[in-house]
Amino acid sequence: MASLNKPGTAVEKPGRKVLIEAKNLTIGYELERERKLLTALRDINLIAYEGEFLVLVGPSGCGKTTFLNAVAGLLPPWEGTITYEGKRIEGVGSDRAMVFQDYAIMPWRTVSHNIEMAFEFRHHGLAKEEVQQRIQRTIEAVGLQGFEESYPYELSGGMKQRVGIGRALAAEPKVLLADEPFGALDAMTRQVLQGQLEALVAEFNQTVIFITHSIDEAISLGDRIGVISHRPGTVREIIEVDIERPRLAEGEITSHPRYGELREYLWSLVKDEAIQAQAASDFGDLDQDEDADRTETEHRALLDDPGGRL
């Protein structure tokens, strides 16, 4: 077996520019009804270099989404810091955009109107026609020509997520945050969209932080893969995927000799975590209902606007 990068060794890459850095980051949320504070991530140290595709894998409920929300600026850290180009992240910014697992596109808006959201709320200094051109270009880039005036209910799941990806990329943010974007799609659509995402990201030259619970997806897409342990999440190990790009444009990445090795190693790491997470939830940990609770708590947090960031 080829020597794999052991924990820590792949983390530092002195030659490259650090774009996002989490230092001793601890973050969680409050379960208001149960009067409990739940730590989702503890003492996270993680770096995303400029232009890289960073994938985070881990068992469900390990706090991957929480991390992404922290990078997005939707959730403030409890302890530690999270920085973008050396500056603390204190809210959302035009340099970051997100693709959501449940698409989160507005059902009352057409495809092009949904993508227009990327320009709607911020000063971008673009003329109206220019915005329209950018929207049109984005629609072509994600392959939705002819569906500009369609409503989401007329689209398939894969097409809806193309709208979500297009909306995130339209204003050309530096960082793309993807929260299990293909989790709800069937295997075939998923594979097609993975290939298109790889091509799009290369074209727009983005830094990506991508969350998934699929090992195959992680290896197919990631430059580096961070394995997050079960709750409270910490970075267990970071491994580097040394398979050249483009990986999905033609041929099967699964037939690459490194693929099997990486997959096996990654699975050995993740398996432990999954079993431990499962055991924890079997013993009545908060894992089971945590997603529902979190959504509600975050919802309330938004409407009450504790940080005044809205």
Partner: protein
């Protein structure tokens, strides 16, 4: 999908090399029946219903004082709506030219004004309650109590305050109709999907933009449902209010039903009731298509 096919390509039995994926089906008796059988059955059904009514009232055991012939009801309907009744000298017991139409317009006036007020105040109250915790905390005891209380129970108090003039009608209808609007609007705001809000935040929407561009459109179908409920509740309210009003003439269609029955004018009672039923039917059927028009995205895609 453009519809540019020529008639030839649509002819079954002679398949063209490149038939369009969607073609128009030709009319056949079977298709006509499948599509229009409902209308046909309804016409036959109603004809039979009114014929049996006529026969039963003419030959049946029920006295015509309480169960009139349908033809008499039609006669009252005609006089009540379009006039031309020769009523001089006869003991017409409330039947007069235009008696139904005048009462109907009275009802319609009070009903529409009250509905406009209910919807116009209900929506903003519901929105505020959903969006601001303290407004919710302050108003919810009153809203939930009043919406659960049978409205008729507060009638005596209303009478003490505003008497039995036409103002009390507005009060009763608004108190009946406003709560479904408030509660449904509130529920819409409260259930707005978090990921939609997060998406808008992510793209830099301010708090007020989130309310205008996410919460409000998300709530719209809920508001429509609330308005539908409120329209039919309001109809109950208006008839109730008219039953109880002290008006001596033109107290509305509900008042007419009540007074005509008291005067033992069965044809007029039935005629007024029938007018009300048709109005209610049109109203309810009209609001059923409202959601599809206002919030087309709520439709499941149909082919």
């Amino acid at each position: 999908m453009t519809d540019t096919q020529t008639p030839q390509t649509a002819t079954p039995g002679s398949p063209q090399p490149h038939e369009p994926r969607i073609r128009k089906a030709r009319w056949t008796w079977e298709r006509i029946w499948r599509r229009y059988s409902f209308v046909f059955i309804t016409i036959v059904n109603l004809t039979v219903f009114f014929t049996i009514w006529e026969l039963f009232a003419t030959f049946g055991p029920v006295p015509s004082l309480i169960f009139p012939r349908f033809s008499e009801v039609l006669e009252s309907l005609k006089i009540g709506w379009i006039g031309g009744g020769n009523l001089e000298g006869s003991d017409n017991r409330m039947l007069a030219d235009f008696v139904i139409s005048r009462n109907f317009w009275e009802t319609l006036k009070i009903y529409s004004v009250s509905m406009v007020v209910s919807i116009g105040f209900g929506i903003p109250i519901g929105l505020l309650m959903g969006a601001r915790k303290w407004v919710d905390a302050i108003l919810s005891p009153y809203v939930w109590t009043l919406s659960s209380l049978p409205r008729i129970a507060i009638y005596p108090i209303l009478v003490m305050f505003i008497g039995i003039g036409s103002e009390i009608k507005y009060a009763i209808i608004i108190l009946t109709a406003i709560f479904p609007v408030i509660i449904n609007t509130w529920a819409g705001v409260k259930t707005t999907e978090q990921s939609l809000i997060n998406a808008a935040r992510m793209f830099g929407a301010s708090r007020s933009q989130i309310y205008r561009k996410v919460v409000l459109p998300y709530t719209l179908p809920f508001v429509v449902t609330g308005v539908q409920l409120s329209l039919s509740r309001g109809l109950i309210g208006v008839v109730l209010a008219e039953f109880l009003t002290g008006a001596t003439q033109f107290g509305g269609i509900g008042w007419l039903v009540f007074r005509a029955a008291n005067a033992f004018n069965a044809p007029l009672t039935y005629a007024a009731l029938l007018s009300l039923a048709v109005f209610a039917l049109i109203l309810v059927q009209g609001t059923r298509s409202m959601e599809a028009k206002i919030a087309p995205w709520r439709q499941v895609s149909k082919t």
